[in-house]
């Protein structure tokens, strides 16, 4: 009951009270969607069925495995990084401004630091899910307006011409996993890791850690950098030796559990008054 009330408080103050932070996400999503739509239109391929899956493949395509050969400059996938880094930014500030403000009252009254920590973990999960919900809803609405087909099919030609992707045939289940479930889970994992690190270091350094993890994921193809699991161009549907969906789920759950556990251990010894 006490946890429920803390979560309700966090939803009210950390999500409703900071809803203006979701507006740039909606604007960005609109810009990316319209820009991709215009790119498709400029290709003069009216006979091709442009679907919402093509659009999501554009958002989460990421970067193909990079080989640092002479003269081959590294170009990072800006759309993919923008999506995940804005999510990290969105969940960066509130928990610690709360801890040095009303959080002290909450901890005193609930008599439990663990409850405060768990409520913040739930808040990060909810805020991240809501952030991605904004992305999906805005792209759905724009798809309706721009007459982009709402189906689980996708145009292989658009993928090949605009995204440089030759994909294995995808079932609706793998579309859901690759374009909805995994990006959200990986983002939750990165954000929770950032939240946990915030108990050890300043928030800015935690954001740098998140940024470096995500950036390094685009450069190196390794399961140790969990951002790899959220990129279509690193998954088994794009390449034979790609990242497995199950591994991605296990890795993200592992990071989530470790971050929550390390946070519980740390919050017990955390000197709140000194920080505030």
């Amino acid at each position: 009951m006490r946890l429920y009330r803390l979560i309700r408080y966090d939803i009210k103050n950390g999500i409703s009270g900071r809803s203006y932070l979701y507006a740039p996400a909606a604007i960005l999503c609109s810009v990316f969607t319209v820009s991709f739509y215009m790119s498709v239109q400029s290709m003069n391929i009216e006979d091709e069925k442009f679907t919402i899956v093509n659009l999501f493949l554009y958002f989460f395509e990421g970067k193909e495995p990079f080989s640092p050969e002479l003269g081959n400059a590294f170009v990072f996938p800006v759309v993919w990084l923008f999506i995940f880094l804005y999510s990290a930014f969105l969940t960066l500030n509130y928990p610690y401004s709360n801890l040095t403000g009303f959080g002290i009252q909450a901890i005193t009254r609930t008599k439990s630091r663990n409850l405060w920590w768990l409520s913040k973990c739930c808040w990060v999960f909810l805020a991240t899910c809501l952030y991605f919900a904004v992305w999906y809803i805005v792209s759905l609405l724009l798809s309706v307006i721009l007459h982009i087909d709402l189906s689980f099919q996708y145009s292989e030609r658009i993928c090949a011409l605009l995204l440089d992707m030759q994909l294995q045939p995808m079932q609706p289940g793998s579309v859901w996993m690759s374009l909805v479930v995994l990006p959200v889970m990986i983002s939750v994992a990165v954000n929770l890791l950032q939240l946990c690190l915030g108990l050890f270091f300043d928030r800015m350094y935690c954001f740098i850690v998140s940024a470096v993890i995500l950036f390094a994921s685009t450069y190196f193809q390794t399961p140790l950098l969990i951002g790899n699991f959220a990129m279509v161009k690193r998954s088994v549907i794009y390449q034979e030796n790609g990242m497995d969906v199950k591994q991605g789920i296990i890795a993200s759950v592992l990071v989530i559990i470790l971050s929550i556990g390390a946070g519980i251990w740390r919050i017990r010894k955390y000197d709140i008054l000194k920080k505030s």
Binding site: L70, G71, A73, N93, M204, I208, Y219, F220
Partner: protein, 281 residues
């Protein structure tokens, strides 16, 4: 009064804990890059001495001017350094005005000294700290790489390390690569300084320190998106045109100058306006 104020701000900017941590972060990138380059050079030199790979050994591929941090566009270290450049520039002191407005320090100080002195010294200190935070690691990387890499002039016959004829300072790159590298370090420093100044002036509108520090970073990402998707052809993204070799497109001196003017006009314009109109209460 202004000189005293600048001295005070410079001391705070250069000897803060945040500046130290930023330097440690950038130096760790430099050391990682130097070690990986030293390993690659040792392998190359061993193969060269053994006479492996008959034919052209492409000796310029290990040239200093192609392998220092600012120019090594294929390496992780260079990519992550320029990706984090807006944060590296802002971290030492870009957040200071936001922090001081929030804590009430600004109210106290502008009731004692002229507003102009305070805000301009903040701007100056922010610029210098941002510029140094980027220039010192780049210069260090150049000097460390120069310890073991041959300073060979680059040639345009190879499929690496080349610059198009129309690109900015292309002739200088082939004729005097040392001057070219130094000019690039200076250019990076100027843009890093202006990036830090963006944070300084954003403090007039945004109170959150985190947002003030990260706003230039997201602005650079947005410019990179525009560069890739809306205006392809020339580099308008500072993340790309600040690297000493082309990443995707050729660099235009005119575009760099226009970007410089936009950054400088925005930051100085806001500062001049707020210097007159700032309301402490």
């Amino acid at each position: 009064m202004t000189v005293k104020c600048i001295k005070n701000e410079m001391r705070k900017a250069l000897f803060s804990r945040a500046a130290l941590i930023t330097y440690l972060l950038s130096f760790s990138i430099v050391i990682y890059h130097t070690v990986t380059k030293a390993q690659i050079y040792n392998e190359f030199y061993a193969a060269y001495q053994a006479g492996d790979g008959a034919g052209n050994p492409m000796i310029t591929s290990v040239s200093l001017f192609f392998n220092w941090l600012g120019a090594d566009v294929t390496s992780f270290a260079t990519s992550v350094f320029f990706f984090l450049l807006p944060i590296i520039a802002v971290m030492p002191y870009g957040w200071s005005l936001a922090g001081e407005i929030r804590s009430g320090y600004t109210k106290n100080i502008i009731s004692r000294i002229p507003r102009k002195s305070y805000f301009f010294s903040k701007y100056f200190a922010g610029f210098v700290s941002g510029a140094l935070a980027v220039m010192i690691p780049l210069l260090l990387s150049f000097l460390l790489a120069a310890l073991f890499l041959p300073a060979l002039r680059m040639e345009n016959i190879y499929p690496y390390g080349t610059i198009g004829e129309k690109s900015m300072w292309a002739a200088l790159y082939y004729s005097n690569p040392f001057l070219y590298s130094m000019l690039y370090i200076l250019l990076d420093g100027v843009f890093a300084g202006l990036t830090a100044c963006i944070s300084i002036v954003l403090a007039f509108f945004i109170r959150s320190r985190v947002t003030v520090v990260l706003a230039p970073f997201f602005l650079m990402l947005l410019l990179d998106y525009i560069d890739m998707n809306v205006l392809p052809g020339w580099e308008i993204s500072p993340v790309k045109f600040l690297q000493a070799l082309p990443v995707v497109n050729e660099r235009s001196g005119v575009i760099d100058f226009v970007m410089f003017l936009i950054f400088a006009a925005f930051t100085l314009g806001v500062l001049l306006y707020k210097e007159r109109k700032y309301e402490a209460l």
